[in-house]
């Protein structure tokens, strides 16, 4: 059993706050992804769990044991580094066996574990090679193998795919997911890539950077991938999750019932959203958010349609992206449509903003609670922030 429990964890380098008040529970066997913009402290948080970085204040338990002050080797964790960090002068076999030798594991046991890991990762024929004789993907697998042989309760990955090319990245991503399914160990995985986060995670921890980190704490939102997608807690989360990012339009609150909020956009267009904005004052300045894939193309005579002009169009085959200039916002409004829309740059386009898909963010950037009828979202409030 290796559940991980962080309590009010802070990290300062010198006087500089890098991690602010993280409390988090990661269940045994869970795949948890730390994601966030570069420099927000993902690696630092992971390294504190690993024991490579001291925890300035706060407590950390792994498997029910207080490990805040224990060295890494006493924590039952294994780590896969971004640069792989294989020992260049040791063969693949020795790279994997090194930690076991240091732990005074018996020779037959070491051999059995190394061979089992090699089987899992298809490294069998490479055992006598040196790291420099391996490809990037193979090195990556050895690094994972080095973690596997020790049968740790917790695997820690720090951007393990960022040194691989795109094709290999997808393939390795799938292998890591399979590995998690078969090993059933807890895993914490750091990435700045939200696609990796969405595809791998049981649960995502999205971290704040800079001012928001100092104000609201390091954790922006914790939840299952689709929770973050459908119920972003604030504008930062809404913008970070999803690609291309959510469209945001400045608006004024015109009326609110528990069922629905009426909004007026900057250009006077009226819109509504299925949210409960009754706590906000009337005429509050809010932000309407809608993902590109939810913006609809309006029939020419459409009511409540937002008028715009296509600035440019990207054809991806299975989908196309329209970038609209509209008086309702600065910059472009992005629209994703399946297949080919036939819209050409310069065409006038009217779009609809379906109320079921509109998000509303209050003046402070926090999301107003949405009503989601059905769909693949999780139980609301299952997010494990404490």
């Amino acid at each position: 059993m290796a559940e991980i429990r962080l309590r009010n964890v802070n990290k300062r380098f010198g006087g500089v706050q890098v991690i602010n008040d993280v409390s988090l529970d990661i269940a045994d066997g869970e795949f948890c992804v730390f994601v966030g913009p570069s420099g927000c402290g993902k690696s630092t948080l992971l390294r504190m769990v690993a024991g490579l970085e001291e925890i300035t204040t706060g407590e950390l338990d792994i498997g029910g044991k207080r490990v805040t002050r224990l060295p890494p080797s006493a924590r039952g964790v294994a780590m896969v580094f971004q640069s792989y960090a294989l020992y260049p002068h040791m063969t693949v076999y020795d790279n994997m066996a090194f930690g076991l030798q240091l732990a005074r594991t018996g020779k037959p046991d070491i051999d059995a574990r190394v061979r089992r890991a090699a089987d899992i990762l298809a490294l069998g024929p490479l055992l006598q090679r040196l790291p420099k004789e391996l490809s990037g993907g193979q090195r990556q697998r050895v690094a994972i193998g080095r973690a596997i042989v020790r049968s740790p309760g917790v695997f820690l990955f720090d951007e393990p795919l960022s040194n691989l090319d795109a094709a290999l990245r997808v393939q390795t991503r799938i292998e890591i997911a399979k590995l998690h399914a078969s090993l059933r160990a807890s895993m914490i995985y750091v990435t700045h890539d939200q696609v990796e986060a969405m595809t791998l995670a049981d649960r995502i921890v999205l971290l704040n950077a800079g001012e928001a980190m100092r104000r609201d704490g390091s954790i922006a939102q914790v939840g299952r991938p689709l929770d973050l997608y459908h119920r972003p807690a604030n504008l930062f989360v809404a913008g970070f999750i999803g690609s291309p990012g959510m469209n945001v339009l400045p608006a004024t609150l015109a009326g609110a019932t528990p069922e629905r909020a009426e909004l007026v956009l900057r250009d006077g267009t009226r819109a509504s959203a299925r949210v409960d904005a009754t706590t906000l004052p009337a005429d509050a300045t809010v932000t309407l958010g809608i993902r590109p894939e939810h913006v609809g193309l309006a029939p020419a005579d459409g009511t409540s349609a937002l008028a715009g002009r296509a600035s440019h169009v990207e054809q991806l085959g299975e989908a196309s992206y329209l970038y609209l200039e509209t008086p309702a916002r600065d910059g472009f409004l992005t629209v994703r449509q399946g297949g080919d829309t036939g819209v050409a740059p310069g065409d006038a386009v009217a779009v609809t903003l379906p109320e079921a898909h509109c998000h509303v963010f209050g003046p402070d950037g926090r999301a107003v609670p949405r009503h989601l009828t059905a769909g693949p979202t999780g139980r609301p409030g299952s997010a494990g922030v404490h």
Partner: protein
């Protein structure tokens, strides 16, 4: 005192050291042999030298040394009142200044040649390493032989080309001796200078050169305006290293011109007092003054030369 309630006072064994703590502990353990040896061979002897410089110690019986205050420095027979000492100081400064200046210029030329791309460059680089590799005593002897007044090849060449009309006593003639010492030092130390400058040159980004070349700027201008400012920090470090080395010169002068006053350096003066005249007090005082001079220069070097002490790792 006992009024403060303590939350959790079960008598526990002291907490095991954290990673950082155990690393710091290991670091001091790792440093212990170094520290012990440095104290033994450098710290302690240095302190003893300072002490001896305040006594009338004699080499034959160091134990009988009596405290004499600053007599060895400023007393009637003190170092600072000895014209020979000041002569040694003058020689040393002249030697250091002139030889380092020439070495820097020549080193720059050699480095620029080695930085150019031409077939046979590796041969030149190998050749340049030869003077550096030759022990100082050996190079002094080699040059002493070449500079020999009667049979030396240098006089021979100069005579046959009629540059001089009669053989010169390069190392014996008081007006030539220091020049000869400088010449040999230049020959021996220029490679070191050249290699350091070359390393700096090869670290320069090539794009500003290409930009300059495209702009059609004269190479000399490029050198003065672009290259020189860029390699200045490295050049400073090299000059400082060499200057500190030159200030303590001993072997070269000792072998080439023995204890001659015309070339005597501060190190030679100190050793002569110490060993030849057995006056440990005086010799130590001279050595201390030299140490002070070099220490001052080192301190300047470390601040001016921007010697990096804090690495990224660690």
């Amino acid at each position: 005192m006992a009024a403060v309630p303590v939350a959790c006072t079960q008598d526990r064994a002291p907490a095991p050291p954290t990673l950082a703590e155990s690393r710091v502990r290991a670091a001091w353990l790792f440093l212990a042999p170094l520290v012990v040896l440095m104290v033994l061979v450098a710290g302690w002897p240095l302190c003893r030298t300072l002490w001896f410089s305040l006594t009338d110690a004699d080499l034959k019986d160091l134990g009988a040394a009596r405290f004499v205050g600053l007599d060895n420095y400023t007393g009637e027979f003190g170092v600072l009142r000895d014209p020979d000492w000041w002569r040694a100081v003058g020689n040393t400064l002249l030697f250091a200044g002139v030889s380092v200046a020439i070495e820097t210029l020549l080193g720059l030329v050699v480095a620029l040649v080695l930085d150019a791309d031409f077939p046979g460059r590796s041969v030149v680089r190998a050749a340049v390493l030869v003077p550096w590799a030759i022990p100082t005593v050996v190079s002094a002897k080699m040059w002493a032989w070449m500079l020999n007044d009667q049979f030396g090849v240098i006089n021979h060449v100069l005579m046959t080309t009629h540059l001089i009309s009669q053989p010169l006593a390069w190392v014996a003639d008081p007006s030539l001796a220091l020049g000869s010492v400088i010449a040999v030092d230049v020959w021996k130390a220029t490679p070191f200078m050249a290699l350091l400058i070359l390393a700096a040159l090869q670290m320069l980004p090539t794009d500003c050169y290409e930009a300059a070349r495209v702009d059609g700027i004269h190479p000399v201008t490029v050198f003065v305006r672009v290259t020189l400012p860029l390699i200045r920090p490295a050049l400073m470090v090299a000059v400082i290293f060499r200057a500190l080395d030159a200030l303590r010169v001993f072997d070269l002068v000792y072998v080439l011109t023995s204890n001659s006053r015309d070339t005597m350096s501060m190190s030679i003066y100190a050793r002569q007092q110490l060993v030849d005249f057995q006056q440990v007090g005086l010799g130590s005082a001279a050595a201390t003054v030299l140490f002070g001079t070099v220490a001052l220069c080192t301190a300047l070097a470390i601040t001016l030369g921007r010697v990096r002490l804090e690495g990224a790792a660690g």
